[in-house]
Symmetry: C2
Subunit: 358 residues, 2 copies
């Protein structure tokens, strides 16, 4: 029977505190469902490494990850020491791009036991998936500054899209919507303001949509779409968006469920040519680091997404995923809970409670 090799990269700040809890639950679920796992720990891709080596990762980082099936990632960034764009472009964004993790899948879900900031919403009212394009679009270092340092300074920032890049993530989103009960897809756009890329993106969405006559599609401009995440969250099922718009929606969505501290994410290379990466949506949170109070759910949920992805079609991974989710739900509802959820438990107490339920 096949074993999976997992690289654990805790990164910075609370990434280092939630990682052990992710691994704890991962091991418990793997054992219970008979999934063979080997975990290798990597002590780079963090800002201390940068301060010592002048780079975020060793030059042979790809070789070091050549034989892993997936990466479990904590969080990266320590802005007081290293500017965010340096730490992130030198690690996380590099993984996403060089491992062609072109889908960033981010579930948004309201849990029993978490006070909802939206009045009158109940678990079940907010339950959708954000599918974010994860390798191109608005996130680039292309462009430049002319007349730099003078009054005449002009800045060009380029966004870059490709048909290959748009079509594959749109197709992924249509497939996903098609498998779900409601079969609804919302396509984020801003074709009324951003005049080259977005009208083109709309056309690609139409073209791919031709293959999915059963999916009900709705294009929405990012401004009104953000408003509807607040006003009508129950109308969403699968939402597909460009890199930037997906970034915004996948923080906003979790906020409407009470906290971004629970939100997981799966950076997928669906072709399985490269390892996929699983990480919390939250960052390294320097302000609370070192107190063992961070909520470990996002990390644990990310590990669950990893198991599901790894064993696709085999059943055991899906079962393990569902068992972890059930354990998360139970512990969020009944405790022990960390402070952000109104409890007093430490990171490790909450992680252990979830592992114990597997």
């Amino acid at each position: 029977q096949r074993r999976f090799r997992i690289a654990a990269i805790p990164g910075d700040g609370i990434g280092k505190e939630v990682m052990p809890e992710g691994l704890r639950v991962l091991q418990a679920a793997a054992q219970r469902f008979g999934i063979g796992l080997d975990v290798v720990h990597m002590d780079w891709a963090h800002c201390d490494y940068y301060l010592q080596h002048g780079k975020m990762m060793p030059d042979d980082w790809k070789a070091r990850l050549a034989d892993v099936d997936a990466i479990l990632f904590g969080a990266v960034g320590w802005p007081a020491a290293v500017p965010d764009h340096v730490s992130l472009w030198g690690s996380l964004l590099k993984f996403r791009r060089e491992f062609d993790q072109y889908v960033n899948l981010r579930p948004v879900r309201l849990f029993e036991g978490v006070p909802c900031p939206l009045a009158g919403r109940r678990p079940g009212d907010i339950d959708y998936l954000v599918v974010r394009e994860n390798t191109e679009g608005e996130y680039t270092a292309l462009g430049g500054i002319m007349f730099e340092g003078t009054e005449r300074e002009i800045v060009i920032q380029e966004s870059v899209y490709s048909r290959v890049g748009a079509d594959r993530v749109l197709r992924y989103a249509y497939e996903l919507a098609n498998q779900r009960e409601r079969k609804r897809l919302t396509v984020a756009t801003k074709s009324n303001g951003i005049a080259i890329s977005m009208p083109w993106w709309d056309k690609r969405a139409d073209a791919i949509g031709e293959g999915y006559p059963e999916v009900a599609v709705d294009k929405q401009h990012i401004d009104i779409l953000s408003a509807r995440f607040v006003l009508q969250p129950d109308r969403f099922d699968v939402v597909v968006a460009s890199n930037l718009f997906g970034d915004i929606l996948s923080d906003l969505g979790p906020a409407t469920t009470g906290t971004i501290g629970l939100a997981p994410s799966a950076n997928l290379n669906p072709d399985r040519r490269f390892p996929s990466l699983f990480e919390p949506v939250h960052g390294s949170a320097p302000d609370i680091y070192g107190q063992n109070i961070a909520n470990p759910v996002a990390m644990i949920w990310s590990a669950a997404l990893m198991l599901d992805f790894l064993t696709e079609g085999q059943g055991a991974g899906r079962q393990a995923h569902d068992a972890i989710l059930a354990a998360i739900e139970a512990v969020i509802a009944e405790g022990p809970r960390t402070r952000d959820l109104g409890g007093t438990a430490s990171t490790s107490e909450m992680g252990k409670a979830i592992a114990d339920r597997i």
Copy 2:
């Protein structure tokens, strides 16, 4: 005594229904506070005009507006007949750019009588101003498509910023924050992902900030900033953002106050070399047009912002503005209200009720 000349451009859809109410209240306030107004009606900048003339506006549109002090604008767009990017780039976005309306000021405020979608928030908890850069940045038609129509299609979309453009809107926002009690400014950014323009934008914010030591500034990435609009709306005072980010935040903010149907906007040319333009944030709403049920408040509030801007320093405009706001507050709280607020009043009934209170 000086009279002001106002161009009324209703545009499309409900723009045509709310405009008369905006004018009704405007006239009532002008009369009460002794502000001389001449209103000229312009029947272009709408999609019917486009269908007849193949363009949204007459070629001499600038000459026709040469002697107006301000434009009161309804809404534009009728996507079933004319693609949004055609109608908008041919009218509204042209005004913003060619009249150098570089500040788009959008107040966000929770009213008594409007059920708040955010649990437990009361009027006073949500009360801030979004200052949106309105002429450059992400809204461009620059860039292009290579290998168009083939599998190899590549799209470049350029965003363009200038130091002049960034500095002036940042300065406006700092000035505004500096005049307010809380003196807090939030600068929207995304310098961790968008690697050329946004780190530069951060630097310009720092540079302009040097002149305002009393303003407490906070830079926030647009993803977490959107989340905080939901989770901690009370922490905002003045928020300054690029064109795209300001667009998103100024729909999201009003959504957290229950509806985007009330939100006004002031497209300002603070230099007063060109007319400024005042319009609801909402669009032409083809789905409800023709029933006289649209909420006229956004239009009326926009007219109030216009009076304040026109008579800057004179007092009468500020008084007229405050009187209109008080009338809006009273009618929202006590009725008659339009359907979107749970009432049964028509557009004109609600508009008349507000005018009657002036």
